[in-house]
């Protein structure tokens, strides 16, 4: 029967249907999204509120908080510098270790390794990221510190020191950087590599001057996450960096001989301090207790600023393909 449209035999009904499954799933997905947003909002509210409570007390002043060189709650001295300084030291040391090594690993995996080797190495690297940080902490204390003592002298390197913790933080975030960067590098279209090779570029030229710049936004994202992780890392510094702030009498003492930068001496970071104070039998509603929220709020601001800066960098240097 030619010329007979097959649909003509069926009655036409195009009315809107209610699809229960679709609505439920949409609700679930929206709910899941809301959980993360609400959690963030909740954390910010708690931090701001308790930090406000801290600063409303008579003893700490904004000025002292930001310019003081001693953090000693027992005698009501709340200068953030010693803690902030230790956090920046461990983070900078960590990033100095992790960024070049992590990037090199990523470039190796994405541009040099055979698919087979990559198939083995990448999961191994990701397992490294799954090791509990407490293990890394004792690795710092039990391996890295003795190593540093042997290298730089037993008297130079204290048993608790910033360098050991910083280096191990670096090792800890290498998988983060390498894995995320490798994803970014691998996502660069093959056509771009072929274009470079087709013009007589070597592997290195292709990797560093075509693929790397094209992947820079993904790599920057990896660096942001890694930096936030380094700044926020707690267990390693609590175990290996020291259990007391590296206080200074005044700025002259801090900067004299660049004392504050000495990586071989103990220092307590912001996170390390928070965990030690809150882990002890500290009662609610004391000034010590409130102070850790001020520290945490500052920590939050730091990671926020890092995020904003890196996103600006990404926008500035992104190569869109």
């Amino acid at each position: 029967m030619p010329g007979q449209p097959s649909g003509a035999r069926r009655p036409l009904d195009l009315r809107k249907r209610t699809r229960a499954g679709e609505s439920i799933i949409q609700l679930l997905l929206k709910g899941a999204g809301a959980v993360s947003v609400l959690t963030t909002v909740g954390i910010v509210v708690v931090l701001v509120y308790d930090a406000f409570v801290f600063f409303r007390r008579p003893e700490p002043t904004f000025l002292e908080f930001f310019t003081g060189t001693t953090w000693q709650p027992q005698i009501l001295r709340f200068g953030i510098f010693p803690l902030l300084n230790a956090t920046l030291l461990t983070s900078v040391i960590g990033m100095t270790v992790a960024l070049p090594i992590g990037l090199m690993i990523a470039i190796f995996l994405s541009e040099y390794a055979s698919p087979r080797l990559r198939g083995i190495l990448k999961p191994v690297l990701e397992v490294l990221a799954g090791i509990p940080t407490v293990v890394y902490g004792f690795f710092a204390l039990g391996f890295m510190t003795p190593l540093l003592k042997n290298l730089f002298g037993k008297d130079t390197v204290e048993i608790f020191n910033v360098a050991s913790a910083g280096i191990v933080i670096g090792i800890l975030i290498i998988p983060l950087i390498s894995s995320m960067s490798e994803d970014a590098l691998s996502a660069v279209p093959r056509a771009l590599r072929e274009a470079a090779y087709g013009m007589g570029a070597t592997r290195l030229e292709t990797a560093v001057r075509v693929v790397l710049p094209a992947a820079i936004s993904g790599i920057a994202a990896a660096v942001i996450v890694a930096m936030s992780r380094a700044v926020g890392e707690t267990m390693v510094v609590a175990i290996a960096a020291g259990a007391g702030p590296r206080n200074f009498g005044d700025w002259g003492q801090a900067t004299g001989g660049l004392n504050f930068l000495n990586p071989f001496k103990a220092a307590e970071t912001m996170t390390g301090h928070i965990v030690r104070i809150s882990g002890g039998d500290l009662s609610y509603d004391t000034i010590d207790y409130d102070s850790i929220f001020a520290i945490a709020f500052l920590l939050f601001i730091i990671t926020l600023i890092l995020n904003i800066i890196s996103q600006w960098i990404v926008r500035r240097f992104r190569e869109e393909y």
Partner: protein
């Protein structure tokens, strides 16, 4: 056997005076255990356009990519036989693939400019090739050579991706000639372009061929007939291995094909 027949016919194509830019002998390319093309004998004349045509999967792109060792980038690929470039087999163990690619440039199917400025797209290749001269001049020269200068001269700082598809492909050609290769390989350079952009590329090819040897893979037989001086027709056998059926001057291939299979293909009976 018809293959050996076609081989001898291909050899007779070249007159004694014609200079050979590049020549494949007994070329075989394997991907793992799979033989992609077999026994390709092809002499490519200097400063002419040679088109490789044939149905999908006949290995014409594989053959093209053998000419600048692009297949090396595929981990499982293996090449047998010889490709003689100015008398030197580029697959000899002492040959550096990077140096080969500096002399045998390539333009790809989809325009693939670097995500950099138009200027940088041209300058990049020259720079990695150790170019020390006047870069501005080279950029202008190359863009003029690719018939793109007038369209982009006021926006050299803009991204290569701001251009239209046809302009991007001409940018890729400009970047290739900036390296001053001897041979330019083109892998279906117009397949992602509209007919007008295609025509411009074809005109450009006819200009470029005064200075460069061009080998082009195309699906478009009209294109081969329009632009190519020589045409090689490939087919694929039962084991999916590609082979060369017939090779000759384009007008001979398209007007008086010697092989029945060529005739069937160009008259549209299959493929």
């Amino acid at each position: 056997m018809s293959i050996s027949l076609s081989v001898s016919s291909s050899a007779s194509v070249q007159s004694q005076q014609a200079r050979i830019a590049v020549e494949s002998r007994n070329l075989r390319v394997w991907y793992g255990k799979f033989m992609a093309v077999r026994d390709i004998h092809l002499q490519v004349e200097e400063c002419k356009i040679t088109a490789l045509i044939g149905p999908s999967g006949c290995g014409k792109s594989t053959v093209l990519r053998a000419f600048n060792r692009m297949n090396d980038l595929v981990p499982v690929a293996r090449t047998e036989g010889e490709i003689l470039f100015q008398g030197k087999n580029i697959y000899d163990p002492d040959v550096d693939a990077v140096e080969v690619r500096r002399r045998v440039g390539m333009v790809f199917q989809k325009p693939n400019p670097f995500p950099k400025s138009i200027y940088e797209n041209i300058a990049w290749g020259a720079r990695i090739n150790g170019f020390k001269g006047n870069m501005d001049q080279l950029v202008e020269e190359s863009l003029r050579g690719a018939a793109l200068w007038d369209e982009v001269k006021d926006k050299l700082k803009q991204s290569g991706y701001s251009l239209s598809g046809g302009q991007q492909q001409r940018l890729c050609i400009a970047r290739t000639i900036a390296v001053k290769p001897d041979i330019i390989l083109m892998d279906e350079p117009c397949s992602a372009l509209d007919p007008i952009a295609t025509l411009r590329i074809e005109e450009l090819m006819r200009e470029l061929v005064n200075q460069y040897t061009i080998i082009i893979v195309t699906h478009n037989m009209q294109q081969a007939a329009r632009v190519a001086d020589y045409t090689a027709f490939f087919m694929v056998d039962d084991t999916r291995t590609g082979y060369l059926v017939e090779y000759g001057k384009s007008d001979q291939i398209f007007m008086r094909p010697k092989d029945k299979r060529t005739e069937d293909y160009i008259t549209g009976r299959f493929g």
